[in-house]
């Protein structure tokens, strides 16, 4: 299987070339086009109960689609948001993705839902996070550009900009500054992450866009 992320960074999509016998799992509604000889099968996103949990708390869809081919073919996988996509490869390790970030993975990757804690909730990052583990490639997307950072000590990320992180990263919610500057700087609450480990971030936040739009609606 060959996969290439095209039209980076604004309107990224994955162009996948499947060899005979290959398969790829993608989020429901992620397929934009595909060869006619690729077969698509839909299944619960990791079992009935966990699919419901993932839908309710993880921002993922109830179903995932598995694309397989006996003769080979290609397909294009995309995401709803205008923004970049990236890929990491698991070698038995685990990664956490924020709700909605997951797009596709190889069938050897396990999808699960992990408790993120109240700090994550208060920090605007949700009560749960998607846990990807096993071996294989995972593709994920973001709103705006994606940038990563290897951090060792504490690092501050504004609400809504976190996309994915290593399990070795700890999350704490905190104020961006003092009480006055936290409330009047527009930064409010932030997520303080502590390494060692890698974090993936997005250059735009949907919450920021929604607030900007709402402010101009009236």
């Amino acid at each position: 299987m060959e996969a290439e992320i095209a039209d980076k960074p604004s309107f990224a999509h994955i162009r996948v070339k499947l060899d005979p016998g290959d398969s790829i799992v993608a989020e429901a509604d992620a397929m934009a086009s595909m060869s006619s000889d690729i077969e698509m099968s839909t299944r619960w996103n990791g079992g009935f109960c966990s699919a419901i949990l993932r839908r309710v708390f993880g921002g993922e869809s109830l179903f995932v689609n598995e694309f397989t081919t006996r003769t080979g073919g290609s397909l294009v996988i995309t995401q709803a948001l205008p923004g970049d996509m990236d890929c990491f490869e698991l070698d038995g390790n685990t990664m956490f993705l924020q709700p909605g970030a997951y797009i596709a993975c190889e069938p050897t990757v396990k999808l699960g839902l992990g408790w993120a804690g109240f700090a994550s909730l208060i920090g605007g990052e949700g009560l749960f996070r998607l846990k990807v583990s096993g071996t294989g490639k995972v593709w994920f997307g973001a709103y705006g550009g994606i940038f990563s950072r290897d951090i060792d000590e504490e690092y501050v990320i504004d609400t809504g900009h976190l996309v994915g992180y290593d399990p070795s990263i700890s999350l704490k919610v905190g104020m961006s500054g003092g009480i006055f500057s936290s409330f009047f700087s527009g930064e409010g609450l932030v997520t303080r992450v502590k390494g060692p480990g890698k974090v993936y971030m997005q250059s735009r936040s949907i919450g920021g866009l929604a607030a900007w739009t709402n402010a101009r609606m009236y």
Binding site: N93, I122, P167, S168, S170, K194, P196
Partner: protein, 410 residues
């Protein structure tokens, strides 16, 4: 080959090191007598001697143990719950103090985190409760600053849309008598210039009620059961006090949703009016709070006293009725709970008032009013009898006609 590993179990974890591709790799971790060994999936091996290992605890779960060399160029990490104990055993206690320190820090941090969570949750709950009751109480206070025209609108709309099914008594003498009772008390009402509107409804219910704005309804049952105009004046004064104390509006605010509460605080009374009219339509079924009843009793007694009418006149009505039928309480009392307590409070209040000679409604012939109501009933009954007889006669005539037609046809 001699296996130096002192712990049976291998641990799954990883290594952070800049020399690795991507700076990190998953690894299999073993513990021997002198060091921690991590073999990555790529086949690289990293060794940290216990003596030069610094420990940290953290990660997403808070349970991940990081073993680092002094210059932090190599970090071996593991999240397995058994790893700290295995590390302590394998190092023959060399790392015990370090492990106790990081676990102690972790527990302290966890306690602090939970402490902050509970403080935050408590503050949020208190703010919510405080906000809810603050708005409710604020709205209740704001009601008294609203113009009396709001009461009048609620009263007028409620009365006009009420479907009580009772016939209004149009005998001018009966209506005039009740109006005279109201007029005598009117100058002493707490809010001046209230335009009291009185109507008498034909019903055996021994009741009277007032809608906001001064819309007073008296049922003929109350008049029939009373011995004097003063007794009815006692009930009417109580109802007038509900009007002037604006209990109807207060009751509406008690039922307000939070949104309407905020609206009232902001000066928008449209929601209040709608709810007021709706509640007003069920005025006879709704009861005021005990506090409001007591307040209306005392205010009514004050008005009676000022108008030179015995403030305990209503008490005699209650007592007469209770003596006649100790269990069957009249409707007016059954919707006004704690009757004996209220009678006692009224008597106590009357004792505090300076003694004076009370007047009576000399201009009202109460016996005549009562007989007129009975007369009305007899008249109605006569009318019904006459109409029944006429119907019967009509039917007989129709039958005769049909018989005649049949005879002609044959």
């Amino acid at each position: 080959m001699f296996d130096q590993s002192v712990e049976d179990a291998d641990f799954q974890g990883g290594v952070f090191c800049k020399e690795l591709p991507n700076g990190r790799a998953s690894a299999n971790i073993t513990l021997d007598f002198t060091s921690i060994r991590a073999r990555t999936t790529g086949g690289d091996e990293f060794v940290l001697r216990y003596g030069e290992t610094n420990l940290e605890m953290g990660g997403s779960s808070g349970r991940m143990v990081f073993c680092r060399n002094a210059d932090k160029t190599v970090t071996i990490f593991c999240e397995d719950k058994k790893f700290p104990k295995a590390l302590e055993n394998a190092s023959s206690g060399e790392l015990r103090a370090e492990i106790e320190r990081v676990i102690g820090n972790r527990k302290q941090e966890s306690r602090r985190g939970w402490g902050m969570f509970w403080i935050g949750a408590t503050v949020c709950v208190l703010l919510l409760i405080g906000g809810y009751f603050g708005i409710k109480q604020g709205a209740k206070a704001a009601v008294h600053s609203l113009p009396f025209s709001v009461d009048e609108t609620i009263g007028e709309l409620s009365q006009s849309s009420m479907q009580d099914g009772f016939k209004e008594v149009d005998d001018p003498k009966v209506v005039a008598a009740i109006e005279a009772i109201v007029e005598r008390l009117e100058p002493y009402s707490a809010i001046p210039d209230v335009k009291y509107q009185v109507r008498v409804l034909d019903s055996p219910i021994m009741n009277a009620y007032a809608l906001p704005g001064g819309y007073i309804t008296v049922f003929t049952g109350l008049i029939a059961e009373s011995e004097s105009a003063e007794e009815v004046a006692g009930v009417i004064a109580h109802e007038m006090a509900h009007v002037t104390k604006r209990h109807g509006l207060e009751r509406v605010t008690g039922q307000l949703g939070i949104v309407v509460g905020i609206q009232v605080l902001l000066g928008d009374v449209s929601g209040l009016l709608a709810l007021g009219v709706e509640l007003g339509q069920y005025a006879t079924q709704n009861s005021y709070s005990r506090l409001q009843e007591t307040e209306a009793d005392l205010e009514g007694a004050r008005m009676l006293y000022e108008a030179n009418i015995d403030p305990l006149s209503v008490v005699t009505l209650f007592e007469d009725l209770k003596a006649e039928d100790p269990l069957g309480l009249p409707a007016w009392l059954s919707t006004h709970p704690d009757t004996q307590g209220r009678i006692d409070r009224l008597k106590d209040y009357a004792k505090t008032l300076p003694v004076k000679e009370y007047d009576t409604y000399d201009d009202i012939d109460w016996a005549d009013i009562k007989s007129r109501l009975e007369g009305d009933k007899d008249e109605d009954a006569d009318k019904n009898e006459v109409s029944k007889q006429e119907d019967k006669k009509g039917e007989e005539e129709d039958l005769d006609e049909v018989a005649k037609e049949d005879a002609e046809d044959s």
